[in-house]
């Protein structure tokens, strides 16, 4: 991610010497920074969803009495956990592909 940002800055500084393009590329850097923040937010949102899915299961056990409803909520909780896992993994995939070690 840092490499990507550094690359963006380098490109921006080169092309920004051309008149009329400076503002455009500064805007590009700003967008890159925001994307970085979004990746971090994606990761934490994913972990939040995973924990939420677990507590959905606990709530289903505690609050619901009928087996069918419990079944439904527990499966939903499991699905929420998997969505969270998918989001965290996606954020790491983006970071891994961006770093190109």
């Amino acid at each position: 991610m840092r490499c990507l940002l550094a690359e963006s800055v380098r490109r921006a500084s080169c092309v920004a010497q051309e008149p009329g393009t400076k503002r455009l590329f500064l805007l590009g850097i700003e967008v890159a920074r925001k994307v970085t923040r979004i990746w971090n937010r994606m990761r934490f949102a994913g972990f939040f969803l995973m924990v939420a899915g677990f507590f959905l299961n606990v709530a289903a056990l505690v609050l619901l009495q009928t087996m069918a409803l419990r079944y439904l909520f527990v499966i939903c909780g499991f699905a929420v956990v998997f969505v969270g896992l998918g989001i965290v993994q996606r954020s790491h995939t983006i970071a891994a592909r961006a770093s190109h070690r």
Binding site: M50, L63, L85, V88, Q89, A96, R97
Partner: protein, 438 residues
């Protein structure tokens, strides 16, 4: 461990179980050898020494503090009341294993404690292979200490004795509660999820995912080690599964034969399935993927060996063998996860399949229903993925800020052996130029 189990056993059962327990660490040796073989030659000594140090760290930390939170049979720990049910969530035992009566003949508790010690060591060695060639020794030992001191004991308490997952059957009518034959959840899935956290944090090896094109294959340096590790693991796994069936599930000695048979059937079917899948996909069978298939069969047997019939064990092993090579490929090519030992798919994903299979196809006791048992298994898996995984990642993320997990670029280039130990594993071999090129 069920609280309904008697605290003592007959002398014959005791003697045979002790013999099985003494063979069980072969599984740890097998996994350590497999991890070493799947890494690079320039990191081989560091890999095997790391396995020993991780084993030592986890055993020490678990014996000193981990056992406090694990608790053991017939002792309930810290609990709270919710919906008029008791939720036992943590063990409260004295430190340094003072709560375990090792001198008492024919009691179950010391054997359960020994199984837990072997389990925590194996769970910590599993992610070591995933961080191969880039995970520093000091940070690996520190991470293992956290796993052994808090994460493993916590989840082991939940699934054993009076833990809340084990009591799902008694408290909420969900089958027999969460069932795990021989540590698929607290050893293998936990190890696989820890491996996932490590791979997330340390990132891929240098040159694994180049800017141009698809990922680069970095094959293991010694396939003979890998396959020998598989054979060693079989011996250890059969003993481990049999000992766990007697100690954890309270099975009679006569059940040992079927447990060992199921373990063997699961592993055999799994490697055959992987063999045919790789033959069909690449026109030749892949040795390291077949080794992964074998290990996947063993992991699946950890979940179900004492709870299914031989026919069901064949089916479970077959599914494990089919999904393993596909998952290894998906994780590497689709998700950019650089996992040299394949621990995430072999131990994590296949462990989850084993637990689900117990809910779908496992033996039902008494008035337990299939739906209830399946639900109990799903809740256990959700606890692992939804709570234990974020907790592990959080701890590792903090630790990575203090003791960086990843070796610096120079160290990765010259190899972990020279960088961390000052000498290579194969000093008489001709080294490649790029290993010393700075």
């Amino acid at each position: 461990m069920s609280t309904a189990l008697p605290a003592t056993m007959t002398e014959a059962t005791y003697a045979l179980t002790v013999a099985l327990l003494l063979v069980a660490p072969m599984a740890i040796a097998g996994v350590a050898l497999l991890n070493t073989g799947l890494g690079r030659s320039r990191s081989a000594a560091q890999s095997l020494l790391g396995s020993l140090l991780i084993l030592a760290t986890t055993v020490l930390v678990f014996a000193i503090v981990g056992i406090c939170w694990t608790g053991h049979a017939a002792h309930s720990g810290g609990s709270f009341e919710l919906a008029k049910k008791s939720w036992d969530w943590i063990g409260l035992e004295p430190v340094l294993m003072r709560g375990v009566a090792f001198d008492a003949m024919t009691t179950r508790a010391p054997m359960a404690a020994m199984l837990e010690i072997f389990g925590v060591a194996l769970a910590a060695i599993i992610p070591w292979g995933s961080g191969a060639d880039r995970w520093r020794l000091v940070s690996a030992c520190t991470a293992s200490a956290v796993s052994a001191g808090w994460i493993f004991p916590l989840f082991t308490h939940w699934i054993g004795g009076s833990g809340w997952l084990a009591q799902l059957g008694a408290n909420f009518g969900l089958g027999s509660g969460f069932l795990d034959s021989a540590g698929a959840a607290n050893v293998h899935i936990l190890g696989g999820l820890t491996a996932l956290c490590v791979v997330w944090i340390v990132g891929p090896r240098r040159g694994k995912f180049p800017k141009e094109g698809i990922s680069t294959a970095i094959p293991g340096h010694q396939v003979v080690y890998v396959l020998l590790g598989c054979l060693l693991s079989l011996v250890g796994w059969m003993a481990w599964n049999a000992a766990a069936a007697v100690v954890v599930l309270g099975e009679p000695l006569t059940a040992i034969f079927s447990v060992v048979l199921n373990t063997l059937l699961c592993a055999s079917t799994s490697i055959m399935a992987t063999f045919f899948i790789t033959q069909a996909r690449f026109s030749k069978p892949d040795a390291s993927l077949c080794a992964n298939g074998w290990m996947a069969g063993l992991v699946a047997s950890s979940a179900c060996a004492a709870l299914v019939t031989p026919g069901t064990a064949i089916l479970i092993g077959c599914v494990a063998g089919v999904i393993t090579p596909l998952l290894v490929e998906l994780f590497e090519l689709g998700l950019s996860l650089d996992d040299p030992s394949g621990a995430i798919s072999v131990h994590g994903a296949v462990g989850i399949w084993g637990l689900i299979a117990v809910g779908l196809l496992g033996r039902l006791d008494g008035s337990a229903t299939r739906g209830g048992q399946f639900l109990a298994q799903i809740i256990g898996i959700t606890a692992l993925l939804g709570l234990i995984l974020p907790m592990t990642y959080f701890f590792f993320w903090i630790m990575n800020k203090v003791i960086p997990f990843r070796v610096d670029e120079d160290g990765e280039r010259i190899g972990m052996d020279l960088h961390e130990l000052g000498g290579g594993a194969y000093p008489e071999f001709v080294m490649h130029r790029d290993e010393f090129h700075r």
